[in-house]
Symmetry: C2
Subunit: 198 residues, 2 copies
Protein backbone atom coordinates (compact mmCIF):
# COMPACT_ATOMS: atom_id res chain seq x y z
CA UNK A 1 0.00 0.00 0.00
CA UNK A 2 1.65 3.22 -1.15
CA UNK A 3 1.33 6.57 0.63
CA UNK A 4 -0.71 7.84 -2.31
CA UNK A 5 -3.21 4.95 -2.21
CA UNK A 6 -3.31 5.23 1.57
CA UNK A 7 -4.28 8.92 1.60
CA UNK A 8 -6.71 8.44 -1.30
CA UNK A 9 -8.32 5.59 0.65
CA UNK A 10 -8.77 7.72 3.77
CA UNK A 11 -10.18 10.64 1.74
CA UNK A 12 -12.59 8.30 -0.08
CA UNK A 13 -14.15 7.39 3.30
CA UNK A 14 -15.45 10.95 3.63
CA UNK A 15 -19.07 11.43 2.55
CA UNK A 16 -19.51 12.61 -1.03
CA UNK A 17 -15.90 11.88 -2.00
CA UNK A 18 -15.49 8.96 -4.39
CA UNK A 19 -12.33 7.08 -5.34
CA UNK A 20 -11.59 9.27 -8.36
CA UNK A 21 -12.03 12.52 -6.45
CA UNK A 22 -9.88 11.17 -3.60
CA UNK A 23 -7.08 10.36 -6.04
CA UNK A 24 -7.43 13.78 -7.68
CA UNK A 25 -7.17 15.51 -4.28
CA UNK A 26 -4.12 13.42 -3.39
CA UNK A 27 -2.31 14.35 -6.60
CA UNK A 28 -3.35 17.96 -6.05
CA UNK A 29 -1.66 17.90 -2.62
CA UNK A 30 1.46 16.37 -4.19
CA UNK A 31 1.75 19.42 -6.45
CA UNK A 32 1.42 21.84 -3.51
CA UNK A 33 4.18 22.88 -1.10
CA UNK A 34 4.21 20.19 1.58
CA UNK A 35 3.24 22.73 4.26
CA UNK A 36 -0.28 22.70 2.77
CA UNK A 37 -0.79 19.01 3.53
CA UNK A 38 0.83 19.33 6.95
CA UNK A 39 -1.45 22.25 7.90
CA UNK A 40 -4.46 20.12 6.98
CA UNK A 41 -3.04 17.23 9.03
CA UNK A 42 -2.51 19.56 12.02
CA UNK A 43 -6.08 20.92 11.77
CA UNK A 44 -7.41 17.32 11.78
CA UNK A 45 -5.33 16.47 14.86
CA UNK A 46 -6.50 19.56 16.75
CA UNK A 47 -10.10 18.70 15.91
CA UNK A 48 -9.67 15.09 17.10
CA UNK A 49 -7.74 15.95 20.27
CA UNK A 50 -9.21 19.22 21.55
CA UNK A 51 -12.82 19.42 20.42
CA UNK A 52 -15.43 17.79 22.69
CA UNK A 53 -19.18 18.24 23.19
CA UNK A 54 -20.23 21.16 25.41
CA UNK A 55 -21.43 19.59 28.72
CA UNK A 56 -24.48 21.88 28.68
CA UNK A 57 -25.77 21.63 25.10
CA UNK A 58 -23.51 19.08 23.26
CA UNK A 59 -22.34 21.67 20.72
CA UNK A 60 -18.67 20.82 19.88
CA UNK A 61 -16.23 23.18 21.58
CA UNK A 62 -12.61 23.52 22.62
CA UNK A 63 -13.51 25.34 25.87
CA UNK A 64 -15.15 24.13 29.09
CA UNK A 65 -18.48 25.36 27.70
CA UNK A 66 -19.34 26.33 24.11
CA UNK A 67 -19.29 29.97 22.96
CA UNK A 68 -23.10 30.20 23.07
CA UNK A 69 -23.61 28.65 26.52
CA UNK A 70 -20.85 30.83 28.01
CA UNK A 71 -22.25 34.05 26.46
CA UNK A 72 -24.05 35.96 29.28
CA UNK A 73 -26.20 37.84 26.73
CA UNK A 74 -27.96 34.64 25.59
CA UNK A 75 -31.43 33.98 27.02
CA UNK A 76 -31.15 30.64 28.86
CA UNK A 77 -34.94 30.47 29.36
CA UNK A 78 -35.45 29.41 25.72
CA UNK A 79 -33.83 26.22 24.40
CA UNK A 80 -33.78 25.45 20.68
CA UNK A 81 -33.47 21.70 20.04
CA UNK A 82 -31.58 20.65 16.87
CA UNK A 83 -30.55 17.29 15.42
CA UNK A 84 -26.95 18.13 14.59
CA UNK A 85 -24.45 20.70 15.80
CA UNK A 86 -24.16 21.90 12.19
CA UNK A 87 -27.80 23.04 12.36
CA UNK A 88 -26.82 25.66 14.97
CA UNK A 89 -24.80 27.58 12.39
CA UNK A 90 -27.81 27.77 10.06
CA UNK A 91 -30.04 29.18 12.82
CA UNK A 92 -27.36 31.59 14.07
CA UNK A 93 -26.97 32.97 10.55
CA UNK A 94 -30.68 33.90 10.58
CA UNK A 95 -29.91 36.30 13.47
CA UNK A 96 -33.40 35.57 14.79
CA UNK A 97 -32.63 33.58 17.92
CA UNK A 98 -31.04 34.81 21.16
CA UNK A 99 -31.70 31.73 23.32
CA UNK A 100 -29.52 28.65 23.80
CA UNK A 101 -29.37 25.29 22.02
CA UNK A 102 -29.55 21.58 22.69
CA UNK A 103 -27.97 19.14 20.21
CA UNK A 104 -29.77 15.77 20.12
CA UNK A 105 -26.97 14.08 18.19
CA UNK A 106 -29.28 12.71 15.48
CA UNK A 107 -32.94 11.82 15.03
CA UNK A 108 -34.99 8.76 16.02
CA UNK A 109 -34.75 6.15 13.28
CA UNK A 110 -35.71 2.57 14.18
CA UNK A 111 -34.54 1.40 10.73
CA UNK A 112 -31.03 2.70 11.38
CA UNK A 113 -31.15 1.46 14.98
CA UNK A 114 -31.27 4.96 16.51
CA UNK A 115 -33.29 4.70 19.76
CA UNK A 116 -34.22 7.49 22.21
CA UNK A 117 -31.35 6.50 24.53
CA UNK A 118 -28.86 7.11 21.67
CA UNK A 119 -29.89 10.79 21.67
CA UNK A 120 -29.47 13.41 24.42
CA UNK A 121 -33.24 13.57 25.11
CA UNK A 122 -32.92 12.55 28.78
CA UNK A 123 -30.41 15.33 29.32
CA UNK A 124 -32.75 17.79 27.57
CA UNK A 125 -35.61 16.88 29.94
CA UNK A 126 -33.35 17.45 32.98
CA UNK A 127 -32.16 20.79 31.53
CA UNK A 128 -35.73 21.92 30.89
CA UNK A 129 -37.03 21.00 34.36
CA UNK A 130 -34.17 21.41 36.88
CA UNK A 131 -34.29 23.86 38.52
CA UNK A 132 -38.01 24.30 37.84
CA UNK A 133 -39.17 27.60 36.31
CA UNK A 134 -35.89 28.62 34.67
CA UNK A 135 -36.69 27.30 31.18
CA UNK A 136 -39.91 28.78 29.75
CA UNK A 137 -39.89 27.39 26.23
CA UNK A 138 -38.37 24.56 24.20
CA UNK A 139 -38.41 25.19 20.42
CA UNK A 140 -38.07 21.89 18.56
CA UNK A 141 -36.11 22.60 15.36
CA UNK A 142 -35.51 19.06 14.10
CA UNK A 143 -35.68 18.70 10.31
CA UNK A 144 -39.09 18.67 8.59
CA UNK A 145 -38.55 15.02 7.52
CA UNK A 146 -40.46 11.93 8.64
CA UNK A 147 -37.81 11.07 11.20
CA UNK A 148 -37.39 14.69 12.30
CA UNK A 149 -41.15 14.94 12.93
CA UNK A 150 -41.18 11.65 14.86
CA UNK A 151 -38.28 12.92 16.98
CA UNK A 152 -40.11 16.21 17.58
CA UNK A 153 -43.24 14.34 18.72
CA UNK A 154 -41.20 12.16 21.08
CA UNK A 155 -39.50 15.21 22.61
CA UNK A 156 -42.87 16.93 22.99
CA UNK A 157 -44.33 13.89 24.80
CA UNK A 158 -41.36 13.69 27.16
CA UNK A 159 -41.76 17.37 28.08
CA UNK A 160 -45.59 17.43 28.11
CA UNK A 161 -45.92 16.91 31.87
CA UNK A 162 -43.16 19.36 32.82
CA UNK A 163 -45.13 22.59 32.45
CA UNK A 164 -42.68 23.90 29.85
CA UNK A 165 -44.06 25.36 26.62
CA UNK A 166 -42.95 23.20 23.66
CA UNK A 167 -43.12 24.75 20.17
CA UNK A 168 -42.22 23.52 16.69
CA UNK A 169 -40.63 25.67 13.97
CA UNK A 170 -43.10 26.52 11.19
CA UNK A 171 -43.27 24.63 7.93
CA UNK A 172 -44.37 26.28 4.72
CA UNK A 173 -43.05 27.63 1.46
CA UNK A 174 -39.42 28.69 1.63
CA UNK A 175 -38.82 32.41 1.05
CA UNK A 176 -37.95 32.91 -2.59
CA UNK A 177 -39.49 29.53 -3.40
CA UNK A 178 -41.84 29.01 -6.31
CA UNK A 179 -45.37 27.69 -5.76
CA UNK A 180 -45.22 25.98 -9.14
CA UNK A 181 -42.28 23.82 -8.09
CA UNK A 182 -43.25 23.20 -4.45
CA UNK A 183 -44.28 19.65 -3.53
CA UNK A 184 -47.84 18.89 -2.45
CA UNK A 185 -47.01 18.18 1.19
CA UNK A 186 -45.28 21.54 1.58
CA UNK A 187 -48.22 23.35 -0.01
CA UNK A 188 -50.67 21.46 2.22
CA UNK A 189 -48.71 22.48 5.31
CA UNK A 190 -48.42 26.06 4.09
CA UNK A 191 -52.23 26.14 3.68
CA UNK A 192 -52.90 24.54 7.09
CA UNK A 193 -50.52 26.94 8.83
CA UNK A 194 -52.00 30.04 7.09
CA UNK A 195 -52.22 33.20 9.16
CA UNK A 196 -54.53 36.22 9.13
CA UNK A 197 -53.11 39.20 7.30
CA UNK A 198 -53.44 42.49 9.15
CA UNK B 1 -10.45 31.00 14.99
CA UNK B 2 -11.95 27.76 16.29
CA UNK B 3 -10.66 24.27 15.49
CA UNK B 4 -13.81 23.67 13.45
CA UNK B 5 -13.40 26.82 11.34
CA UNK B 6 -9.72 26.06 11.01
CA UNK B 7 -10.21 22.56 9.59
CA UNK B 8 -13.10 23.71 7.38
CA UNK B 9 -10.85 26.49 6.06
CA UNK B 10 -8.07 24.05 5.19
CA UNK B 11 -10.50 21.62 3.52
CA UNK B 12 -12.07 24.45 1.52
CA UNK B 13 -8.65 25.14 -0.08
CA UNK B 14 -8.83 21.75 -1.84
CA UNK B 15 -10.10 21.88 -5.43
CA UNK B 16 -13.83 21.23 -5.84
CA UNK B 17 -14.55 21.60 -2.10
CA UNK B 18 -16.50 24.73 -1.23
CA UNK B 19 -17.10 26.29 2.18
CA UNK B 20 -20.36 24.42 2.79
CA UNK B 21 -18.90 21.05 1.86
CA UNK B 22 -15.83 21.73 4.01
CA UNK B 23 -18.05 22.47 7.01
CA UNK B 24 -20.14 19.37 6.34
CA UNK B 25 -17.00 17.21 6.19
CA UNK B 26 -15.74 18.75 9.44
CA UNK B 27 -18.99 18.01 11.28
CA UNK B 28 -18.96 14.52 9.78
CA UNK B 29 -15.51 13.93 11.29
CA UNK B 30 -16.75 15.24 14.66
CA UNK B 31 -19.38 12.51 14.67
CA UNK B 32 -16.80 9.79 13.90
CA UNK B 33 -14.45 8.09 16.38
CA UNK B 34 -11.45 10.39 16.63
CA UNK B 35 -9.15 7.68 15.20
CA UNK B 36 -10.74 8.36 11.79
CA UNK B 37 -9.52 11.96 11.71
CA UNK B 38 -6.14 10.98 13.11
CA UNK B 39 -5.64 8.30 10.43
CA UNK B 40 -6.38 10.89 7.75
CA UNK B 41 -3.92 13.29 9.42
CA UNK B 42 -1.25 10.56 9.51
CA UNK B 43 -1.78 9.73 5.81
CA UNK B 44 -1.35 13.42 4.94
CA UNK B 45 1.87 13.61 6.97
CA UNK B 46 3.31 10.50 5.31
CA UNK B 47 2.47 11.94 1.89
CA UNK B 48 4.13 15.27 2.73
CA UNK B 49 7.22 13.79 4.38
CA UNK B 50 8.03 10.64 2.42
CA UNK B 51 6.76 11.10 -1.12
CA UNK B 52 9.13 12.83 -3.58
CA UNK B 53 9.47 12.89 -7.37
CA UNK B 54 11.32 9.93 -8.91
CA UNK B 55 14.74 11.31 -10.00
CA UNK B 56 14.38 9.51 -13.36
CA UNK B 57 10.80 10.31 -14.44
CA UNK B 58 9.31 12.70 -11.78
CA UNK B 59 6.52 10.24 -10.87
CA UNK B 60 5.92 10.63 -7.09
CA UNK B 61 7.38 7.76 -5.09
CA UNK B 62 8.48 6.80 -1.58
CA UNK B 63 11.48 4.80 -2.88
CA UNK B 64 14.76 5.88 -4.45
CA UNK B 65 13.16 5.32 -7.87
CA UNK B 66 9.47 4.85 -8.72
CA UNK B 67 7.93 1.39 -9.15
CA UNK B 68 7.92 1.71 -12.95
CA UNK B 69 11.50 2.95 -13.37
CA UNK B 70 12.80 0.25 -11.01
CA UNK B 71 10.89 -2.56 -12.81
CA UNK B 72 13.44 -4.45 -14.97
CA UNK B 73 10.64 -5.70 -17.27
CA UNK B 74 9.83 -2.20 -18.51
CA UNK B 75 11.24 -1.17 -21.88
CA UNK B 76 13.45 1.87 -21.20
CA UNK B 77 13.88 2.56 -24.94
CA UNK B 78 10.36 4.05 -25.16
CA UNK B 79 9.43 7.09 -23.04
CA UNK B 80 5.81 8.22 -22.74
CA UNK B 81 5.59 11.93 -21.86
CA UNK B 82 2.59 13.00 -19.73
CA UNK B 83 1.54 16.29 -18.18
CA UNK B 84 0.73 15.03 -14.69
CA UNK B 85 1.70 12.02 -12.63
CA UNK B 86 -2.00 11.17 -12.38
CA UNK B 87 -2.06 10.56 -16.15
CA UNK B 88 0.27 7.57 -15.65
CA UNK B 89 -2.46 5.65 -13.84
CA UNK B 90 -4.86 6.16 -16.77
CA UNK B 91 -2.31 4.82 -19.27
CA UNK B 92 -1.27 1.92 -17.02
CA UNK B 93 -4.92 0.86 -16.71
CA UNK B 94 -5.07 0.50 -20.51
CA UNK B 95 -2.45 -2.28 -20.22
CA UNK B 96 -1.13 -1.18 -23.62
CA UNK B 97 2.23 0.35 -22.69
CA UNK B 98 5.35 -1.42 -21.41
CA UNK B 99 7.80 1.46 -21.70
CA UNK B 100 8.67 4.11 -19.11
CA UNK B 101 7.27 7.57 -18.41
CA UNK B 102 8.33 11.19 -18.08
CA UNK B 103 6.16 13.61 -16.07
CA UNK B 104 6.41 17.19 -17.37
CA UNK B 105 4.73 18.65 -14.29
CA UNK B 106 2.13 20.62 -16.27
CA UNK B 107 1.67 22.06 -19.72
CA UNK B 108 2.95 25.26 -21.35
CA UNK B 109 0.53 28.09 -20.64
CA UNK B 110 1.82 31.65 -21.11
CA UNK B 111 -1.46 33.00 -19.67
CA UNK B 112 -0.88 31.12 -16.40
CA UNK B 113 2.82 32.02 -16.49
CA UNK B 114 3.96 28.43 -17.16
CA UNK B 115 7.16 28.64 -19.24
CA UNK B 116 9.28 25.78 -20.66
CA UNK B 117 11.75 26.12 -17.76
CA UNK B 118 8.90 25.43 -15.28
CA UNK B 119 8.48 21.95 -16.82
CA UNK B 120 10.93 19.04 -16.91
CA UNK B 121 11.51 19.37 -20.67
CA UNK B 122 15.28 19.96 -20.32
CA UNK B 123 15.58 16.79 -18.28
CA UNK B 124 13.52 14.89 -20.89
CA UNK B 125 15.90 15.98 -23.68
CA UNK B 126 18.91 14.76 -21.64
CA UNK B 127 17.15 11.46 -20.88
CA UNK B 128 16.33 10.93 -24.56
CA UNK B 129 19.83 11.68 -25.84
CA UNK B 130 22.35 10.60 -23.18
CA UNK B 131 23.70 8.04 -23.72
CA UNK B 132 22.92 8.21 -27.44
CA UNK B 133 21.02 5.32 -29.00
CA UNK B 134 19.34 3.99 -25.83
CA UNK B 135 16.00 5.77 -26.30
CA UNK B 136 14.34 4.91 -29.63
CA UNK B 137 10.99 6.64 -29.29
CA UNK B 138 9.32 9.41 -27.30
CA UNK B 139 5.49 9.19 -27.27
CA UNK B 140 3.99 12.58 -26.40
CA UNK B 141 0.78 11.90 -24.43
CA UNK B 142 -0.08 15.41 -23.29
CA UNK B 143 -3.81 16.18 -23.24
CA UNK B 144 -5.59 16.89 -26.56
CA UNK B 145 -6.24 20.51 -25.45
CA UNK B 146 -4.86 23.73 -26.95
CA UNK B 147 -2.15 23.92 -24.29
CA UNK B 148 -1.44 20.19 -24.44
CA UNK B 149 -0.94 20.44 -28.22
CA UNK B 150 1.34 23.47 -27.85
CA UNK B 151 3.38 21.59 -25.25
CA UNK B 152 3.59 18.55 -27.56
CA UNK B 153 4.84 20.74 -30.42
CA UNK B 154 7.48 22.35 -28.17
CA UNK B 155 8.70 18.93 -26.99
CA UNK B 156 8.82 17.70 -30.60
CA UNK B 157 10.90 20.72 -31.66
CA UNK B 158 13.35 20.26 -28.80
CA UNK B 159 13.87 16.58 -29.77
CA UNK B 160 13.81 17.10 -33.55
CA UNK B 161 17.57 17.27 -33.96
CA UNK B 162 18.33 14.36 -31.60
CA UNK B 163 17.57 11.51 -34.00
CA UNK B 164 14.90 10.12 -31.67
CA UNK B 165 11.51 9.21 -33.13
CA UNK B 166 8.83 11.48 -31.62
CA UNK B 167 5.18 10.33 -31.87
CA UNK B 168 1.88 11.76 -30.68
CA UNK B 169 -1.02 9.69 -29.29
CA UNK B 170 -3.91 9.48 -31.78
CA UNK B 171 -6.97 11.71 -31.54
CA UNK B 172 -10.35 10.54 -32.75
CA UNK B 173 -13.70 9.35 -31.52
CA UNK B 174 -13.57 7.76 -28.07
CA UNK B 175 -14.47 4.07 -28.00
CA UNK B 176 -18.14 3.76 -27.09
CA UNK B 177 -18.66 7.38 -28.12
CA UNK B 178 -21.54 8.50 -30.28
CA UNK B 179 -20.92 10.27 -33.59
CA UNK B 180 -24.12 12.26 -33.10
CA UNK B 181 -22.80 13.86 -29.92
CA UNK B 182 -19.14 14.28 -30.91
CA UNK B 183 -17.89 17.84 -31.45
CA UNK B 184 -16.81 18.99 -34.90
CA UNK B 185 -13.10 19.20 -34.10
CA UNK B 186 -13.01 15.62 -32.86
CA UNK B 187 -14.84 14.41 -35.97
CA UNK B 188 -12.48 16.41 -38.22
CA UNK B 189 -9.46 14.82 -36.52
CA UNK B 190 -11.03 11.36 -36.71
CA UNK B 191 -11.51 11.88 -40.46
CA UNK B 192 -7.98 13.21 -41.02
CA UNK B 193 -6.44 10.33 -39.09
CA UNK B 194 -8.50 7.68 -40.93
CA UNK B 195 -6.78 4.39 -41.66
CA UNK B 196 -7.16 1.76 -44.37
CA UNK B 197 -9.26 -1.20 -43.35
CA UNK B 198 -7.78 -4.57 -44.18
Amino acid sequence: MSAIDDLAGELARLPGIGKKTALRLTYHLLRQPKERGLRLARALEVLAERVHPCPVCHNPTESAECAICSDPRRDTSVICVVEQASDIGAIERSGEFRGVYHVLGGRLSPLDGVQPEDLTIGHLVRRATEPAGVVREVIVATNPSVEGEATAMYVQQKLASCGVRVTRIARGLPVGGDLEYADGVTIAQALNARRDMK
